[in-house]
Symmetry: C2
Subunit: 690 residues, 2 copies
């Protein structure tokens, strides 16, 4: 009770005026920015409006967002969000990535291997229950365990009571805790996907740029009990799409922002975290590219991951450029200084909360020593390695009481964990061997031969020998084998002689040790001190700042609008004219080549039809596939990217005036393509309710 | 003899290797970069090739370049080069700027008011004659006068002997002097001009950018004795235009580069010259914009000048950004240091030449005190003021012997001077009054009421009174009146009571005094010290560096090629698809609106036809209208702009890898537009020889 009452008390005497800028913020549905909407856009949604939009906006557990666009389960997301599933459904003979796919009838729809879709059905503030679980005088480490135990109990209670997937999430770096209950769909089928060349026209070059010309969509359908799911809360399709300067909303599951981090945490990212991340991703990308040189089929297997790492690296580079910009960094320093000064106006609070900054900076001075080990001590470059590690970890955790386990093995989350482990997605042993070898070689080079992880993984042997045997002889490629180990439980897993499982078992103690170190020295400090800083921020600014994104449902807003760049103007939209111009201007040299149908059927198109557009809402990775919605809750487009001006918005909001924009596919362009290029008249009719 | 022999001697023991980079250099025809062409592009033009291209490449004395593209005098330049003449031919009822123009038969061709076209017929090195005219021990000022006298004699001799317009030009800041003989065409008629909205689609925003979509052309025809001139040395039209990566040449009359300036001269530009220029142009632009708000007709009158000042200011901003870039400025400092070090290897030469740098930097420390006065003490914001000042100056100069006059009043140049003064171009009194008032107000604000120019111009009166009377009562609007004064000579002009003439007469002593100061303290030092630095440069690098541009014929080269920008690719060309995309993407909001025929006749076009392209040649302002030529001396496009990456190339060459590009209209796009949009079949046939 004490802690909450402090918060309530504080809320009543805000020390400073709110800081929120322009169209800033990825807001939770419990605290939508009603004031900004009303003042800036004269928009006052009803509770029904908000509920409808929330229930229509779903999370794809592969990492991305989507929305329901028909009452019979049609769900639209990006091709690049669905591409993992499309790859899993592809074979050498049937390549859904290269050639796209369309199911003219429901019987033709293709069931995905392991896609899970979540809909946020209800939520509840459990801050008091979680925070009050921490006993007076507890160390950071103990406090962490006490909070985690409380969370496990809350999640299990809810799951038992409602049957819904129940997760407690933290907002404001531990300033609040909320119980989110999700309805889960696990039978998800593919209805339509364009050729990747249409979805990703311009490739990595045009990624994070605008003007843009991508049909980056995939249309799925969720099923329940073998029938299309009833989804009465869906977004009506707007056939005209948004106009210039129109107010729009985007809803979805932004993955991660770091705007509330302290300067010390940001400096760590800049000086160590990001460069290390770059090394990790670059080495994985290099291995994939090397592998894909082996042949067409190998290139097909690797292409999705290559696209994804290219994307991540381009984004990381933009983010790091932002952090390296002294002007921007100085702004963060000034922000922190202002918060501290605001806090200093209440000396009792200052005494309680102000030490948090130093606690964090002290903790982060230790991190660089461990960061390489934490980054490289794992088998996750390989799917078989990931499966083996998950099984071994499951075996160790499942023996413990629910509230003492790693959170991902809590009772409430086990079902999703198992479904993922038993996914029928294809495994390519040649690729597995290549990537795991490359990964362990890079780890060895970085950590040295005497590193505990390297010694445990390969001992005195050659990396290639160990990996070859593990990949070739493991039976984990077989789902039944995985299931047998899962059903056999801790004992069966502990006794398995499968060489991938034994490899995972050898390295598991090292991984656990590093995780324990990280939790004790970093994460628990982050949580405890983060909670204090959150309180300071509430005290100074109230609840007028949105929490950092963490892959939970958010609502953002802005307007459709072009911008200035390099002394000229960038328009708010592109058209099919622009697609053909760009293809012709490069003489169709890849990645500017067009699928055959685009050339054959060009004259069918109304080339003035808008294809992509930009808008000023505050978005970030994870909102790929988010619906863009007008004030009538109609679907006017689908978010799929942002421009380069926006990349460093991981660390701070970038104002509209600086040209920061989200990029979407236009609802009219989608219809034009479905009808004129893909002969998908049935689908277009279902979307438009005809 | 002494000076030349030193030069020849030096050429034989070059101290360092040549510095020329990549496709650098605006070369004179006496010294084309044959070595680079052969090595980089395997291109070895014959003497005939070079002569043909030289004779086809002409200067438009309004400031720009052009080329002959038929044997019967057809000449192509940019719409923005011809727009001054198009404006002069326009009236409220017949607006050639807004609506364009096409003469289907020769009888329809419209004679321009005062356009003069020059063709470089022959040239001769007169360095020895000019330099040896300077007597031993002469002061800088006397040396200047002695050189100038020698030049007047050379020009007059040549004019008398050949009947050609003969001008001595200086290259390498006085390192060389050349006599250029030009054939002059003064009967120039308009055949075709597009609507400015097509020539300048995207307006000032898209100026200096790429991708670009402008039909920036005007086609003229030169006449002699009332008949189309015979122009056997013309460029054959290429119907396909250039391919990606193709080698191309551009020829034309680049106005001004400042790459051989010393660091002291550049620092002056950066700290004083450019900011002052910006103030002057901004104040003139502001006045024009204010005036054009008065109504449609006023806007029409002002539009050409507004476009021109916008262009100049955008360019100046880019140039100044370059100078303000410490990395680039440091490069110039390093260049100067290297040149001095190279020179130091020959101590006799060093003793003779090295003091030049200090002489220049000493001189330039004085300039800021006078710069404002020099910039503002004139009447040239008004055409009537310019005419009056020219007359008054003519009256004073014509009394002197030829070789003591200001160069622009030398016998060899008098004919062009008079033609210009008697031009029938329209004068708009309302605009004259508005602009001259604004100019004198700005001058008064900048220089103060006690400044000699201000006192002479307006005394104790109000600016508006003085200007009102001068503009309203002057008879200089009448060509016959101007001719009478010209014919009356010094005496008639001195006695004129025309209030614009008396205004000009009052300020003339101030202008002369400032000019004298500038010539003595700055220009003669520039010339004398510049000559020394040129010698130092010849000694160290030979003649492998091109001279700075000064509005004389040059030949440049490079290749057609796209580039990288902001992490994506810019293609080497655009197509008509792109034009329609950009118009649609902005909802045709000006400056992205299209002329009516572009919409009505869209379906006639092959939209894949290339419209604009970029290439890597070293160009600068003044080369607007330059032909882009392939190795077969065919016309493949017309230069009309450069991208923003190239703007600071006034001060240094910017390498191709940095994305610096010239922008041209594609020869195929021109034909497509003429045929399909403008029904100019006759013209297209003449161009293609059909």
């Amino acid at each position: 009770m004490k802690k909450i009452s402090v918060f309530l008390l504080l809320a009543s005497f805000l020390i400073n005026v709110p800081l929120t800028l322009a169209d800033e913020g990825m807001w939770t549905f419990d605290n939508p920015p009603l004031k900004q909407w009303k003042e800036r856009y004269n928009f006052e949604p009803s509770a029904e409006w908000l509920e409808k939009v929330r229930l229509a906006s779903v999370r794809l557990n592969d990492g991305g967002s989507g929305s329901f666009v028909s009452s019979e389960g049609l769900l639209i997301t990006n091709q690049h969000v669905a591409s993992g599933q499309l790859t899993k459904l592809s074979t050498k003979e049937r390549d859904l990535i290269k050639n796209g796919f369309y199911a003219p009838t429901r019987a033709d729809e293709l069931k995905t291997a392991d896609l899970e879709v979540n809909m946020l059905v209800s939520y509840e503030n459990v801050t008091e229950r979680v925070q009050s679980a921490v006993k007076a005088g507890a160390t950071d480490k103990d406090a962490n365990a006490q909070r985690r135990a409380a969370i496990s109990v809350i999640e299990k209670e809810s799951t038992d009571k409602t049957g819904l997937k129940s997760e407690v999430i933290s907002l404001y770096n531990g300033g609040e805790y909320w119980l989110y209950r999700n309805k889960k769909f696990t039978d998800v089928r593919v209805v339509f996907a364009p050729e990747e060349q249409a979805a990703f026209f311009g490739g990595d070059y045009d990624n994070f740029t605008f003007p843009r010309h991508d049909l980056d969509i995939t249309i799925l359908r969720v099923y329940e009990n073998g029938q299309p799911a009833k989804t009465p809360q869906y977004l009506k399709w707007s056939e005209t799409g948004p106009k210039d300067e129109e107010f729009v909303i985007a809803t979805g599951y932004p993955g991660s922002t770091a705007r509330l981090l302290t300067v010390a945490q940001l400096a760590y990212q800049r000086d160590f975290g990001n460069p290390l991340q770059k090394q990790v991703w670059t080495s994985r990308l290099d291995a994939l590219e090397e592998y894909s040189k082996r042949g067409t089929e190998q290139a097909r297997q690797a292409s999705g991951a290559i696209r994804s790492f290219n994307n991540s690296l381009k984004r990381l580079t933009g983010q790091q450029d932002g952090l390296m910009n002294p002007r921007m960094f100085a702004k963060k320093e000034a922000e922190e200084k202002a918060l501290k000064e605001g806090l200093a106006k209440n000396s009792a609070l200052e005494k309680e909360l102000a030490p948090a900054w130093k606690q964090i900076s002290d903790a982060y001075t230790e991190l660089p020593k461990y960061a390489n080990r934490i980054a490289f001590s794992n088998l996750s470059a390989s799917r078989l390695g990931t499966i083996a590690s998950s099984l071994v970890r499951y075996g160790d955790e499942i023996k413990k009481p629910n509230n003492e386990r790693y959170p991902e093995f809590g009772d409430a989350r086990l079902e999703s964990f198992k479904a993922n482990l038993l996914s029928p997605a294809p495994i390519y042993p040649e690729m597995e061997e290549f990537l795991l070898t490359a990964w362990l070689e890079e780890a060895k080079k970085t950590l040295g031969v005497n590193d505990p992880f390297i010694k445990a993984a390969i001992g005195d042997a050659e990396v290639s020998e160990v990996v070859k045997r593990a990949v070739n002889e493991t039976k984990l490629k077989d789902i039944a084998e995985r299931k047998a180990l899962l059903d056999g439980g801790a004992d069966a897993i502990a006794k398995s002689t499968d060489p991938m499982v034994t490899l995972a078992r050898r390295v598991e103690p090292i991984i656990r040790e590093l995780r324990a170190w990280n939790e004790e020295k970093i994460l628990s400090v982050d949580a405890r001190a983060g909670e204090k800083i959150a309180k300071a921020r509430f005290a100074v600014y109230g609840r007028t700042i949105a929490p950092d994104a963490n892959f939970n449902l958010r609502i953002t807003f802005g307007k459709v609008k072009g911008y200035e760049e390099d002394t000229t103007l960038v328009p708010y939209k592109t058209t099919f004219f622009g697609l053909y111009d760009r293809a012709e201007s490069f003489g169709e040299k890849p990645p500017y080549d067009l699928p055959a149908r685009y050339k054959e059927r060009r004259d069918r198109l109304n080339l003035s039809t808008p294809l992509n557009f930009v808008y000023s809402a505050d978005t970030i990775g994870g909102m790929s596939g988010s619906p863009v919605i007008n004030r009538n809750a109609e679907f006017v487009g689908i978010n799929f990217d942002s421009n380069i001006q926006k990349l460093s918005n991981r660390y701070w909001y970038i104002e509209e005036e600086e040209g920061s924009r989200a990029v979407a596919v236009h609802s009219a362009g989608i219809l034009e393509a479905l009808r004129k290029l893909y002969d998908a008249e049935n689908l277009a009719n279902e979307l438009t309710g005809k």
